[in-house]
């Protein structure tokens, strides 16, 4: 809690917003003692700013400065009171609905949603017209008109928390509802409560000012809203007395802006994705100018002394460290390593897909003699997919959900040459058939397919331009073992038919050994061992490789018989459980 408070203060938005807010709170609290009585008629009406009246006088001859300062008091008091009340009511209704669920939720959600679509201002006006005047009326009216949005937010949040383990655990141990809500749910909603309170205060100030401007407040009180009401009534515009309405409007906007800043600072702290990172600059790399070597015979891809740094807030962090390997046309090359070993970063670098915070600081990637790291713009786009394509781990989410499969094939083909939709769709049907899917799926949407089907689409898409290298980045981790096996078998068949090379990236070493011709082992960004699959299985030198191998006890126990170049056989030994299920005895499914 103290940590989050400290980071809130370090945050620039929070600092600016917080000090502005503090200024106005002080102004509201002590300001009225330093100015004249805002209701006194102290001068002639509509006087421009002067030394006697710094902000001029109103249409009735009152001091505008006094009215602005004194107006802060009731405006902010009502604003914060309504902010708190709306948060309380919203949280109460929302948490009750989300936590209790079922019938209670149905009724409360419906009520909430109904109040959400009924426009607040007309409702507040009609309510306000019938209730007796005073600050309490304002609080009541604004709360009734504004609670629903909050209830919705808190319902969603408590639904999410309800499903989490620590809450389920509390339910199982028989703790009372009240205790679970107060001890488990509410503490986890602290930041939501905070940002809601700020947001609701923002709403309350705005709505209050609007209603008072309409004359629905207490027009004899001095608030920012009534100031503007009188400005309108006393013909401030007609007499061109801008000083009557400008100071109050500026104050309202500054308070609103301060609240917005604080609330967005809270949002950014709880959701780091929204933050704009300013990472420490990376040292200039020693990238060689574009040049095309004559490709070495029998080498399709040559990664030479490749180093990649990520910029972090603490400085550069090396994720790939002087890695070198070659890949022959038609070869299956495996890269194995745990998460964070840099294997996926290498895959991204091959396609020029590194995030903006990462940079190649040393070495080069030669594809057919051409340095990929020096490509950019149209040259890079022409290289991508035509030469090297990729099957993503998450084909489930990698396809565009709002386009049919046919459209996504068409976009891909059209990016690499003029092609009509008819031609693209025909090619898409052919490709879908090739990976064992019905060609008619060309008109289907991604969400209509199962995970395995989507991954097949991912493969079909990767083969669309008949590239010479296909990178497979953990293509099967999200699939169950049976689907995994079918998929890889299909891939191997296609490889033999079309002759492309594969760079297979995974943490699943036994799978790699079964599939690949050669395997490289990555640890902490360094290539610690590189050998044929056969060589690695029988003679792993590096202790880390031995460790990786020994974490698959069944492999050492010799319950599998794979030969190095056997991937095409139906007995493809990929039905072995992956690391995650390996710990379960008899984990075969």
């Amino acid at each position: 809690m103290r940590d989050s408070l400290r980071s809130l203060l370090r945050h620039r938005k929070a600092a600016v917003g917080g000090s502005l807010l503090l200024f106005f709170l002080l102004l509201a609290l002590v300001g009225p003692w330093f100015v004249m009585d805002p209701t006194d008629l102290v001068g002639r009406p509509h006087q421009p700013p002067s030394s006697a009246h710094w902000f001029g006088t109103t249409g009735q001859g009152q001091d505008v400065l006094a009215q602005t300062v004194v107006g802060a008091r009731e405006t902010l008091a009502v604003g914060f009171a309504v902010g708190a009340l709306v948060t309380l009511v919203g949280a109460l209704v929302g948490v009750t609905a989300g936590y209790l669920g079922r019938r209670v939720d149905d009724v409360l959600s419906l009520t909430t949603n109904v109040f959400l679509v009924i426009p607040g201002m007309p409702l507040a006006i009609v309510l306000g017209a019938y209730l007796p005047s005073g600050p309490l009326r304002m609080v009541a009216v604004l709360t009734v008109a504004g609670w629903a949005w909050n209830a919705r937010v808190f319902r969603a949040e408590s639904l999410a928390l309800r499903g989490r383990d620590f809450v389920s655990a509390a339910v199982v141990t028989g703790e009372s509802h009240a205790r679970i809500v107060s001890r488990e749910l509410l503490p986890n909603m602290a930041s939501l409560l905070g940002s809601s309170f700020i947001g609701n205060t923002l709403y309350a100030v705005g709505a209050q000012v609007g209603l008072e401007f309409l004359g629905l407040g207490d027009v004899s009180a001095v608030t920012w809203g009534t100031n503007l009401y009188w400005a309108g009534n006393d013909a401030a515009l007609l007499t061109r007395s801008w000083w009557i309405f400008v100071p109050t409007g500026m104050c309202i906007a500054l308070v609103g802006f301060a609240l917005t800043l604080v609330s967005s600072a809270i949002d950014e702290m709880t959701n780091p994705a929204l933050r704009v990172h300013k990472p420490a600059p990376l040292p200039k790399g020693t990238i060689l100018p574009v040049h095309v070597d004559r490709p070495a015979p029998g080498v399709l891809l040559s990664v030479q002394d490749l180093s990649i740094d990520y910029a972090t807030e603490k400085g550069a962090s090396r994720v790939v460290d002087t890695v070198s390997f070659d890949l022959a046309p038609g070869e299956v090359f495996g890269l194995a390593g745990e998460s964070g070993s840099g294997k996926s970063t290498i895959g991204s670098a091959l396609l020029g897909l590194l995030p903006s915070s990462a940079r190649v600081t040393q070495g080069r990637i030669l594809f057919n003699g051409m340095d990929v790291t020096a490509l950019e713009g149209a040259g890079l786009r022409a290289f991508r997919w035509r030469q090297v394509s990729m099957v993503f781990q998450s084909a489930m989410s990698a396809l565009n959900p709002v386009l049919t499969l046919g459209e996504q094939f068409h976009d891909t083909l059209a990016a690499h040459g003029r092609v009509s939709r008819t031609t693209s769709y025909a090619r898409a049907r052919e490709l879908l058939g090739m990976v064992g899917l019905s060609p008619d799926l060309v008109t289907a949407w991604p969400h209509q397919l199962s995970g395995g089907m989507r991954q097949r689409v991912g493969i079909a898409l990767a083969l669309a331009l008949e590239p010479r290298l296909v990178i497979m980045d953990e293509p099967t981790t999200a699939l169950d073992v049976v689907v995994q096996k079918e998929l890889l078998q299909r891939m191997v068949e296609l490889k033999q038919r079309l002759g492309f090379a594969i760079l297979f990236i995974t943490h699943d070493l036994p799978l790699l050994l079964a599939l690949s011709d050669r395997v490289g082992i990555l640890q902490g960004g360094k290539l610690v061992e590189l050998n044929t699959s056969e060589g690695l299985r029988t003679n792993a030198r590096h202790p880390y490789t031995q460790l990786l191998l020994s974490s698959f006890p069944h492999l050492i126990a010799g319950d599998v018989s794979v030969t190095s170049h056997a991937p095409a056989t139906p007995e493809l030994s990929v039905s072995r459980p992956s690391t995650r299920v390996a710990a379960i005895p008899g984990g075969h499914r």
Partner: protein, 327 residues
């Protein structure tokens, strides 16, 4: 799909019923004799039997409450919202009819422009994250968005109306114009709409921009965008067809939810410009204690917002293939 639409329609019917009922309940919450308070200003102005009919339109009879409720609903179904005091002896429905037309035109156009422009700026800000649009324009618009709509309207009216004299000061068209389907009239209406519409756009632009920017930033981090780049698609296509198209969905939903809020703000803008829409009528009703007109406006504005929400639901359905086929 049909079932989804039916479910939404059911919801809006319930919401409509709830607002009808609120309209019935609220006057009865008032302390003292609500009927007397409501119609005090009509005393002496209308004949006693007309008074009875007026009260009946709101269900104020001597019958028990549930019977009053049915009387009220019956009159509603017949389109009888009573008689306006401020526009005596016009029927409330007539008064609201023309007002609603102006509001829908002004607020509708302003909100659509603001949403389209704001979303587009949000797309660009997220695409060039940390660029001048993102770090310069966003905060500036957020600051403008902190001003009350009607205050921006006052300032615009003061500067461009009173001081510079570029635009007319009030109303929807000049008093010397003959309303009709003529070009001159349309041009005059447009000239009158510029200031009020612009102040609504300026006040709301930042909100749409920020919303779109944030969902767009989230979308840009997904694998669907990486895959699009990996396939060598042109950047503009990735930005619009892959990222913006997906980021738009949640924003259209929040657009639906904000319609009522924006309308509330534009009602106040109308007042500043004496624009003859529902907002202007609303303040006339409040100042003249014209309760029948006020309640009629509440009902009509609410129903209009419900209709707008339903339209947005349909648009979402059309935009998102997932709800289109699942529902």
């Amino acid at each position: 799909m049909g079932r989804y639409i039916l479910r939404r329609m059911g919801f809006y019917l319930i919401a409509a019923w709830a607002s009808l009922t609120l309209n019935f309940v609220i006057p009865r919450l008032a302390p003292g004799d609500p009927a007397a308070a409501m119609f005090a200003r009509f005393e002496g102005k209308v004949a006693p039997e007309a008074m009875g009919a007026l009260k009946a339109a709101f269900g104020f009879t001597d019958a028990p409450l549930y019977a009053q409720y049915f009387t009220y609903l019956k009159h509603l179904v017949q389109g009888d919202l009573g008689m306006s005091y401020a526009y005596f002896p016009s029927q409330v429905t007539e008064v609201i009819g023309t007002g609603l037309m102006w509001t829908v035109a002004l607020a509708g156009v302003a909100v659509l422009i603001s949403f389209a422009l704001g979303s587009f700026l949000g797309v660009l800000a997220a695409w060039n994250r940390g660029g001048w649009l993102d770090s310069g324009l966003s905060p500036a618009l957020a600051f403008l968005g902190a001003f009350p709509y009607f205050w921006l309207a006052m300032l615009a009216l003061y500067l461009f109306g009173f001081v510079l004299g570029w635009f007319p000061l009030r109303h929807a068209y000049g008093h010397d114009m003959e309303p009709g389907m003529t070009f001159a009239f349309a041009a005059d209406v447009a000239r009158h709409a510029v200031l009020p519409a612009t102040s609504i756009v300026v006040a709301t632009l930042g909100g749409w921009m920020l919303g779109m920017r944030n969902t767009m930033v989230a979308t840009l981090g997904t694998d669907s965008i990486r895959l699009a780049h990996a396939r060598g698609l042109p950047p503009r296509q990735v930005m619009l067809r892959y990222a913006a198209r997906n980021a738009l969905l949640p924003n259209v939903t929040s657009f639906g939810m904000a319609v009522g809020f924006v309308l509330s703000g534009s009602l106040l803008t109308e007042i500043v410009f004496s624009y003859p829409g529902t907002g202007y009528l609303l303040i006339l009703a409040v100042r003249n204690q014209d309760y029948p007109l006020m309640q009629g406006l509440f009902l009509v504005i609410t129903l209009a917002v419900l209709a707008a929400n339903f339209a947005v639901d349909l648009i979402c359905l059309w935009l998102d293939p997932r709800t289109r086929s699942n529902a």
